[in-house]
């Protein structure tokens, strides 16, 4: 009797559901948790808002019902999701899918190998051609060089012969006197005149 009375008239607030369904999370405004309380709040006594017991009982009942239903629904949905996951991994369709994927993979790999082979053949031919061309070029270059060497040698020999030819006319100590006499005997006149039309006149007013 006493117990029942105490339950009706002295509800224990902290155990029952909150009156307002909106859950306002406490937010720390300016102060952090270590800041002391303001001096104006020294004698402050915080009284919670009064609660109507009848309303509270009704609300509590409704809330428990609501929570039970929601929990059951959540479990149902969770089961569906996990079942789907299970089907995906270990289901009946999973093995066929795996087989099909393996088949696809094998065919694709085969196609890939064929492509590689074909391209390799083409590449080899191309490489061969290029090698041959390079070989040809090298040979030609060698020939050219040889040719140039020979030309050069010939040129040099010609120059030597020409020099030899000229050496015959050089002035040496033996010919010195003779040549001096000759030079004095035949004075050469290098002066000439030219007019605007380009006519050259060799005969000038000189000895």
């Amino acid at each position: 009797m006493l117990r029942a009375l105490s339950r009706c008239h002295d509800p224990v607030f902290r155990l029952l559901a909150p009156r307002s369904t909106v859950l306002v999370e406490t937010v720390r405004g300016r102060k952090s948790r270590t800041d002391p309380k303001a001096k104006s709040k020294l004698g402050r006594i915080k009284t919670p808002p009064p609660v109507d017991p009848v309303e509270m009982v009704v609300l509590k009942e409704r809330f428990t019902e609501y929570n039970l239903i929601l929990r059951a629904l959540r479990l149902e949905f969770k089961e569906q999701v996990l079942r789907k996951k299970y089907e995906d991994e270990v289901g009946s369709a999973a093995e066929e899918r795996a087989k099909r994927e393996a088949e696809e993979h094998r065919s694709l790999m085969a196609w890939n190998d064929a492509e590689n082979l074909r391209l390799r053949k083409i590449r080899e031919q191309r490489v061969q051609k290029e090698a041959e061309e390079a070989e040809m070029k090298r040979r030609e270059a060698v020939l050219l060089r040889q040719q140039e060497l020979e030309n050069y040698i010939k040129e040099k020999e010609r120059q030597i012969i020409q020099l030899q030819e000229e050496a015959k006319d050089f002035i040496t100590l033996d010919n010195l006197d003779q040549r001096i006499e000759e030079a004095l005997d035949n004075p050469k006149n290098y002066n000439f005149a030219i007019d605007k039309e380009g006519r050259i006149v060799k005969r000038t007013a000189f000895q």
């Binding site: 117990r3 105490s6 339950r7 002295d10 224990v12 607030f13 902290r14 155990l15 006594i45 915080k46 009284t47 919670p48 039970l68 239903i69 059951a72 629904l73 479990l75 149902e76 969770k78 089961e79 996990l82 079942r83 299970y86 270990v90």
Partner: protein, 219 residues
């Protein structure tokens, strides 16, 4: 690369010393839970107790206030809490097995206790530290009333309740089942939601479900 961290050995040592001092100078239970009954503040932190607790604090007692006046500090006795008495019809009580009193308390009024909890008629197998010892909520069960108090008829658990689905979900489920079976939706029995299901959703469960589906109905 990051610059080489400077080894602050003295700071490290200071930190260790501070931690050690904090450990050594921990506030005793009697200090932490001392209460000024006139202003309803705890002198240690300076905080005030919430208003709704004032009535209980003035009327009821702490566990150790009761224990300090008993032989052997109430080892082997049963203690209930007023909040349990209000909430639950089944008996809930602590049977004290071990008591460690705070020697700094004046009236040996604070400390720690261990015991075996029986909550709503179901006894726990192991000994545990008593929770909320400092709450002004405790009541001693007199020796001559212990048997009467402990006596409880185990109320059988009510059968699982089935509830109707919410309307939209119900329509969706009926449509899906109709499509699967190829039958009109009105012929399908109403789907019901069990409010409690003790099932662990793992691969074993699904595999067993699959096997059951394959088996079908036994001949």
């Amino acid at each position: 690369m990051v610059k080489k961290k400077r080894l602050r050995l003295i700071a490290e040592m200071a930190r260790k010393i501070r931690a050690y001092r904090e450990l050594k100078n921990r506030p005793q239970d009697s200090q932490r839970y001392a209460l000024d009954y006139d202003t309803m503040t705890r002198p240690f932190t300076g905080k005030k107790l919430p208003v709704l607790a004032w009535k209980d604090v003035q009327r009821e007692t702490r566990l150790f206030s009761l224990l300090s006046g008993m032989r052997m500090f109430g080892v082997g006795r049963l203690f209930t809490r007023k909040s349990w008495l209000d909430e639950h019809t089944e008996p809930c009580y602590w049977k004290i097995t071990k008591v460690k009193v705070d020697y700094t308390a004046e009236n040996m009024d604070h400390g720690k206790a261990w015991g075996i909890l029986t909550f709503r008629g179901k006894e726990e197998p192991a000994e545990r530290e008593v929770d909320k010892v400092m709450y002004h909520d405790w009541r001693l069960v007199p020796k001559h009333e212990e048997e009467v108090f402990k006596h409880c008829e185990p109320v059988p658990e009510p059968p699982v309740r089935y509830v109707k689905y919410p309307p939209l979900l119900r329509a969706m489920i009926l449509a899906q089942q109709a499509k699967q079976l190829g039958v009109d939706a009105s012929t399908i029995p109403e789907p019901s939601l069990p409010l409690k299901r003790d099932v662990l959703l793992n691969y074993e469960y699904f595999r067993s479900q699959d096997e059951k589906k394959q088996e079908g109905t036994p001949v």
